[in-house]
Symmetry: C2
Subunit: 373 residues, 2 copies
């Protein structure tokens, strides 16, 4: 990490409170310990090796990634990696088999069309990769539909060289309502997970890993019976959605976008330099807004253009002036971090810059290799 004078950092930029990141990590690790769960944070949220190391120091047992770039970067931080995304095509498989051989690499997938070429690539590279079969538990995105399909893919993984059946994966991403209204939905998912583990046991499979969890259902993860690990991503920082769902409090928010007021010419609004290229224009609630000021909950971001964010001043007596800095809680933290060059992080009295090594999709080559001197 590079130490930095925060007054020498231009806005807009993602701003991280490292003490809160550590506190969030500690809470999740404690929760997992209490319920006998492993914690494998999804680093798509932060894409930073420094923060991944912090999570591992706090008790994370491995790391989850979505892209091969993230896998390449995080293979320098952990030896226990889950690629929670189907790798399709020769180019991606070539990158995958070039990951360090000492890595305990697991890949989640939902089809024989992905499994077979993956197994062939691994076998020809003389390496073994673990397989998690993903089942759709209600989101309707990826994942096999029937428990029979889980068994069938587990059987196939068992048969093929280069891969080992290691377990199952699910993602209850449809559960985004307020925490107090989640009970019935969590029970539905839990029933589907149990159905899988029972059917697998009958078929002679004891899954080593049952990987689940999400940030909105974070503190109920133990209700998914049979679950062995959680992958929650945005809980490293939390965001406005997490606040509204109730899974985090204001004191847990560890990421905001630092922005500067650049215009107050239009009555009732003020324009800041954080637009959709810093916050992302993603609606996540009935409110229809794009963020809220960290220090003034009555001020929302009502419009986003690429480099303009328009603050709604109709419910505040604050009178912003050009040059004022504000901190914005984004709706969805993962897509906002992905828009930053790097992050400004506060750690008590000092500030550092965090690199986002996992950002982008190109092949990652460690900086120290590029600049060996």
């Amino acid at each position: 990490m590079r130490a930095v004078d925060p007054d020498k950092v231009e806005t807009p930029i993602g701003y991280v409170d490292l003490q809160r990141v550590r506190s969030n990590a500690k809470k999740i690790a404690s929760y997992c310990k209490e319920h006998g769960l492993n914690w494998r944070p999804h680093i798509k949220t932060h894409k930073s090796r420094e923060i991944a190391r912090l999570q591992i120091d706090a008790g994370a047992t491995g790391i989850t990634v979505a892209t091969l770039r993230e896998a390449e970067v995080m293979s320098t931080v952990t030896e226990d990696l889950l690629l929670a995304y189907p790798p399709v095509g020769d180019l991606k498989l070539k990158r995958l088999i070039q990951l360090p051989h000492e890595l305990d690499l697991k890949v989640a997938l939902d089809s024989a069309q992905v499994l077979k070429p993956l197994a062939a690539a691994c076998a020809s590279a003389e390496r073994q990769v673990g397989i998690l079969i993903e089942r759709d538990v209600g989101l309707g995105r990826v994942g096999v539909q029937r428990v029979e399909d889980v068994i069938q893919l587990a059987d196939l993984a068992q048969e093929l060289d280069g891969v080992d059946f290691r377990g199952i994966m699910f993602y209850p991403g449809q559960i985004r309502m307020a925490e107090v209204d989640q009970d019935a939905h969590v029970r539905e998912v839990a029933a589907l997970v149990e159905e899988m583990t029972v059917a697998l046991a009958k078929a002679g499979f004891v899954p080593d890993i049952v990987s689940g969890g999400s940030t909105p259902t974070l503190w109920r993860s133990h209700n998914y019976s049979g679950i062995t690990e959680i992958r929650s991503g945005s809980s490293v920082f939390f965001d406005l959605e997490a606040l509204r769902v109730g899974v985090a409090s204001h004191d847990d928010l560890a990421y905001t976008v630092l922005a500067t007021v650049v215009s107050t010419a239009v009555h009732g609004g003020a324009v800041v330099d954080a637009g959709s290229k810093a916050l992302s224009k993603e609606v996540r609630s009935a409110e229809g807004d794009y963020g809220v000021l960290f220090d003034r909950a009555e001020v929302t971001v009502k419009t986003l253009n690429e480099e303009h964010g328009v603050l709604d001043l109709s419910r505040t007596d604050w009178e912003p002036r050009i040059g004022d800095q504000v901190r914005i809680i984004p709706n969805h933290v993962c897509v906002s971090v992905n828009l930053q060059d790097s992050l400004l992080a506060q750690d008590g009295d000092t500030h550092v810059m965090l690199n986002l090594e996992g950002k982008g999709r190109s092949l990652w080559v460690e900086e120290s290799l590029l600049n060996p001197h």
Copy 2:
């Protein structure tokens, strides 16, 4: 540009048809010539020096940028640059005055609070920067509200050392309805523009530049009386919004996102590897979708997560298979390009990779300076 074998390029990636880019540039240049307008494309859409050069070769008389990074990059391509965004704060002013002195640099702004420090910085650096006063013509984002404020700022610019009053700027960004329904709205904006030029003339100002235009109103730009130049950005590529507004036809679309089918496990859908981190999750129409397949208009992107795009197959007899490649027309091209590492561009029989040098906000240092050998 680096020549490349397209089969060696992973998805998702932005895919550009350079022949269509040239054809779009030619059409805009012809339109401008016909109506005696200058063309100063906004390069926030493409952020690429190669494409900026192509636009200049086609007849663009200068370039518009939004960020200092874009200004630094594009100062190597043109000597006629407009920063269409208020530069606020000492750090940004320091970068601004370090731009090449031979540059004919113009800055748009809407307040004395931006103008005064800018003038002071320019004066102390012994350089002159042109000033365009921005007026709000209905979007309600930035821009002074009254014609008196335009005059007042023009007066102030005239008085101050380091800056020269050069003209006015407006952006009719509220006009996004179908082209056939734009008449009354364009007339309203035209009346406001005329009011400004008349009032300025009375006050003894002859604006050298009246900068306006937008992509949705592209072919009506000559209806804004007194306008001298247009800045339209996304017309370099166009996008789904432009298609729906009617300002472009399918044959004009020069940018799509190349994606690969990774899952067909959920009935009625197919999942591609272009998610919100490749397309951006920005709703731009009543349809509520996030994109449409280039070759199959009946297939829309109905859901976007970070690395997942879910195609709606309910209106097609196409049966996608894992590994199939598709091309997606994004809702809003500017934010999609901003999410790419670089672009794959087809130019007849050859393919090249385009760098996006203007992407991000950090100080730009030309690659050839970093690697002089």
